[in-house]
Amino acid sequence: MRPPLLEVEHLSMRFGGLLAVDDLSFAARAGEITAIIGPNGAGKTTVFNCLTGFYRPSIGRLTLHRGGRRHLLERLDGFRIARDAGVARTFQNIRLFAGMSVLENLLVAQHAPLMRASLYSIAGLLGLPGFRRAERAAVAKARDWLARIDLLARADDPAGSLPYGAQRRLEIARALCTGPALLCLDEPAAGLNARESAELNRLLLAIRAELGIGVLLIEHDMSVVMGISDQVVVLDYGRKIASGPPADVRRDPVVIKAYLGEEADEELPPDIARDLAGRG
């Protein structure tokens, strides 16, 4: 059997006296969407920050299998995790290069291959044909993504001038332009309206089907989580309290309790029950 794309084993992250993530283990497979959910402060973003090298885990091993090689993420620098291991991420509060154009944002994401093609700027300064070809290919790739996320007409505008929903889509496209093996999305549906949220679902499903990459998703919007994920991991106070297919997790009494408190299993407020059951 093929190993999973990402294996998280006994991950713990301690900040002083606070144990933000406590002995978390799970695996994510290529071609699947794995959602990480949990109440606010459960440690979801901390897990992402450990995976992408922004934090160095206190304990634990994070293994990414790509092209027959094992990358031990907890030992790599952040930029190497993105460049060599192929882990791309988006941020909870969007981090686009606001002053640069939409197209430039997507070209910056293709920095590593373009830098090689420009022989660390020497071939680029001389304008050699090899670099020109690579640049055209990069622009073509960016153009394809812009067509996909419906931003082709605004390619030359500053990214910061886009509406909020478009900025979210652009950030996802930018992460995908790095050619990742694993895409980590931190609350991609936050602040989107119902229509934009449905569009996002379609985009994520298309990514899964066409690119066959693994997607790791932190999300509060249950219609997104329940609608598209193949596997759900539920965190509470840094510990994993449940995992499995969304249909099972939704019915798990421990999960319901974590979200709603002790006495909730008797009488759910109707809107929250509907959220948990998933609208999508």
């Binding site: 992408t52 090298g53 922004f54 952040g78 930029f79 190497r80 993105a82 460049r83 060599d84 791309a88 991420r89 941020f91 981090r95 686009l96 290069f97 606001a98 002053g99 640069m100 154009s101 197209l103 430039e104 070209l107 910056v108 994401a109 293709q110 920095h111 590593a112 373009l114 830098m115 420009s118 660390y120 700027s121 680029g124 300064l125 055209r136 622009v139 960016a142 153009r143 812009l146 082709l152 390619a155 030359d156 500053p158 910061g160 001038s161 886009l162 509406p163 909020y164 929903g165 930018r174 992460a175 790095t178 602040g191």
Partner: protein, 452 residues
């Protein structure tokens, strides 16, 4: 509506008078020590003369001026509120408030500027710069002043890579200028290198120095980086001042060789076995020839700098610099090594500063640590910031303004710096993002299909 506006106007009066009084208070505090007392020499002793009348006049002028200013502004606002009698605050549509308004400002500036494109302005500017020594109103003084302007343009373009593109606030840029100047002067003195041999060496040494300085400051950003680079600039100056065996300390290095025109020196009398420029071209000798030649050398160096910088900006490394300025964390998440990007910006900026330094040394013929004080760093940084961060054209405009303003201000003697400060304040009030605040994308999608 009128009933609503009345109390608003009555309130504003109090505010306006208060504002003017506050401004007058500040003026009083400043004027009392600055204008109120004056040291005068009476026979052998130093006496103090008081000029309280002047202080009173100054404070009154500030009070009235501020009063008028505030009055005009409030009248303007009042008229606006009358012409638009809508509901108190129309709530913005959802999502609109999240759009970052910063870029909007740049776009407005852009529309105004788009009428005449930077390419045309640039071409006209270059044509003017090339023709300058031969224009009818040209003089030796003017060409010399233009040389100084172009040195600062080149330094500005060099620092623009570090500050404008990569967003690394460097307050010690003069250190690289000094390293370039001293490298060339010492190489010429010790090993007899000519200007054209020494120029690349000076650039390389300055770049190496940039790398050495870059390593320890890699983890710093913003204010902290500024403080450390400020310190480095001072360290370099103090080393030059105190390392007497090598740098000759405060006495400086004299007799730095002048550049030659393909081996032909600009001298009245040829060295033994050589020919001078004047003899070779059969023109009468004129000391102005060297001035013009020096001007063309720095112009060529500056234009080369500009070409390389513009090219680098369109390459992946240039986009990485700008991306680093916008968001370092996002850069790292996209697999960009911030260390390499920062070091490349630092060393390329340092190299350009080194070239300018070597030219400075050969132009002056004499260098000492006095030429490389913090005020130089501040001037260069002011050129970049006033011009508009990252704008090549803006640097030229700002260099012309900052170098020429004190020159033309000589007529006003002691009020020169006052004029200078007022001009700086005016620019910051009317164009807070610099003279040229527009940023053109390094690559456009529109029109690409037809072009290639």
């Amino acid at each position: 509506m009128a009933a609503e506006a009345l109390p608003a106007r009555r309130l504003a009066w109090g505010g306006i008078v208060g504002e003017a009084a506050a401004a007058a208070g500040v003026a009083l505090a400043l004027a009392l020590p600055l204008i109120g007392f004056r040291t005068v020499e009476t026979n052998a002793a130093l006496g103090i003369e008081t000029r309280f009348g002047w202080v009173a006049a100054t404070v009154a002028a500030v009070f009235v001026g501020r009063l008028l200013l505030a009055l005009l502004r409030s009248l303007h606002l009042h008229r606006k509120s009358v012409t638009r009698p809508t509901s108190p605050q129309p709530s913005p549509p959802p999502g609109a408030e999240r759009e970052r308004p910063v870029e909007r400002e740049g776009e407005v500036g852009g529309r105004r500027f788009r009428a005449f494109s930077p390419t045309w302005i640039g071409a006209l500017g270059i044509a003017f710069a090339v023709a300058l020594p031969f224009l009818p109103f040209s003089s030796r003084y003017l060409v010399d002043l233009a040389t100084t302007v172009v040195i600062y343009v080149m330094l500005g373009w060099g620092l623009n890579v570090v500050v404008g593109l990569a967003g690394l606030l460097d307050l010690g840029y003069v250190a690289f200028y000094a390293v370039g100047a001293y490298s060339f002067a010492l190489l010429a003195q010790r090993f007899g290198l000519s200007f054209w041999q020494g120029l690349p060496m000076a650039g390389l040494l300055a770049a190496a120095f940039g790398l050495a300085l870059g390593f320890p400051v890699l983890r710093l950003r913003g204010d902290y980086l500024a403080i450390v680079t400020l310190g480095f600039g001072e360290i370099v100056r103090l080393v030059l001042l105190n390392w007497v065996p090598v740098t000759n300390g405060p006495a400086g290095i004299a007799d730095v060789p002048r550049p030659s025109f393909f081996g032909l020196p600009f001298e009245r009398h040829a060295p033994p076995g050589g020919t001078t420029f004047a003899e070779f071209f059969h023109v009468p000798f004129n000391p102005g020839q060297r001035i013009v030649f020096l001007y063309y050398v720095i112009l060529a160096l500056a234009l080369l700098t500009n070409a390389v910088t513009l090219r680098l900006r369109r390459l992946p490394i240039g986009r990485a610099w700008e991306a680093l300025r916008e968001d370092e964390i996002a850069c790292r998440a996209l697999g960009i090594n911030p260390t390499l990007v920062k070091l490349s910006a630092f060393s390329i900026g340092a190299m350009l500063g080194g070239f300018a330094g070597a030219f400075f040394a050969t132009r002056q013929g004499f260098i000492s640590p006095e030429s490389f004080t913090f005020i130089e760093s501040a001037t260069i940084l002011a050129i970049v910031v006033l011009g508009g961060m990252g704008s090549q054209l803006g640097v030229v405009l700002a260099a012309v303004v900052l170098v020429c303003l004190p020159e033309f201000g000589r007529a006003f003697a002691e009020f020169r710096m006052l004029l200078f400060g007022a001009a700086m304040v005016a620019i910051m009030v009317w164009r807070p993002r610099g003279l040229v605040a527009r940023r053109a994308p390094s690559l456009r999608l529109a029109g690409r299909d037809g072009a290639r």
